[in-house]
Amino acid sequence: MSKIWSCIILISIVIAFLTGIPDVITSSVISESKTAVENIINLIGMMCFWSGIFKIFENTSLLDKLSNKVDKVVMRFFNKKELNEEAQKNMTLNITSNILGIGNAATVNGIKAIEAMASVNKSDKPSDNMTKFVLINTASLQLIPTTVIALRSLYGSSNPTSILIPVWIVTIVSLTVGLISINILNKVIK
């Protein structure tokens, strides 16, 4: 992460000087820091709300019913021996909220899941389970891409939902490629 982050910033600064716009760097730092604050402020309310709602969810029998179903499909990708109850519970919630398209809830549950996985991970590097879990989260599992559909109808599309099946095909392709790659890379990069 450190290398990627420094590379992005250093390359941007060099290019800004080469194209004669060094002032853009300063103004961008100011405006983008403000954007980060605005984004997080926009997030706080929804993240806390969903975190609260899902706390209720976790304490009802709904979770067990859901886990039984999700576990059969999802847990086969993971090494179940290394996952404690807390991790499994939050992984189920994370994947469910991803599929339903509640992004903020998925973020909260995802963070709790990976914290639980990290607490039993002795190495300073992420475990195989952690890399696979993060990878699944980088794929868009959302069944109905509501934001894009809303944007399409806003700009006058004659059939805003026509993209659904292609979107599902794309998701399956990217998830397959991602999981195959991470399984290979986990063996190569220890």
Binding site: W5, S31, S51, I56, T107, A118, S140, S174, N186
Partner: protein, 174 residues
């Protein structure tokens, strides 16, 4: 019909969860407050990471660095059926959600959502996630600075997604 279903998901979820809690005689309100407090702590913990990544990607975007780096391959991409206005979206989709949303809106405004580029943009946007942001936030929570293969695998997956989206539109599936 489908859009009605989509807007009903959240209200129904909230209803079912609270109703189940009440039905099982849980202290629903106390649980909500406890969970909301956890949410607040999470936001507090991830902010520095969000700041770091937002500023870095902002610099890349505002200095036009990405377009300059990509400029040698643009003619090649055009030749294989990638419209000009999709190229910036391809580059920014894994890096920034806000930047890619505004690129999609620009494409919709200029070419329309039912044009070839409009369809490609829709499928790319709907079928992929902001990979770098997701990785940043989840590894921030895990307090690990090593990524192992995740970024490479995530970007390969995005690449496959984008290529699939372009092919699907070019062969006229939508």
């Amino acid at each position: 019909m489908l859009s009605y279903l989509a807007v009903s998901v959240i209200p129904i979820m909230i209803f079912i969860i609270i109703a189940a809690g009440v039905n099982e005689k849980k202290d629903v309100y106390a649980l909500f407050i406890e969970g909301a407090m956890e949410g607040l702590k999470i936001v507090y913990k991830i902010f520095p990471y969000v700041l770091g990544i937002t500023v870095a990607i902002g610099l890349l975007k505002n200095t036009n660095a990405l377009n300059i780096i990509l400029s040698p391959v643009i003619p090649l991409l055009n030749k294989v059926g990638v419209p000009m206005d999709i190229i910036p979206l391809m580059a920014f989709r894994p890096l920034s959600g806000a930047a890619s949303t505004s690129l999609v809106m620009e494409i919709f405004k200029n070419s329309g959502p039912d044009s070839v580029s409009g369809k490609m943009a829709s499928v790319i946007m709907g079928g992929t996630e902001t990979t770098l942001y997701t990785i940043t936030i989840l590894f921030a929570a895990a307090k690990t600075k090593k990524l192992r293969g995740t970024l490479i695998a995530g970007l390969l997956a995005d690449g496959a997604a984008i290529i699939t989206a372009i092919i699907l539109v070019n062969i006229g599936i939508i």
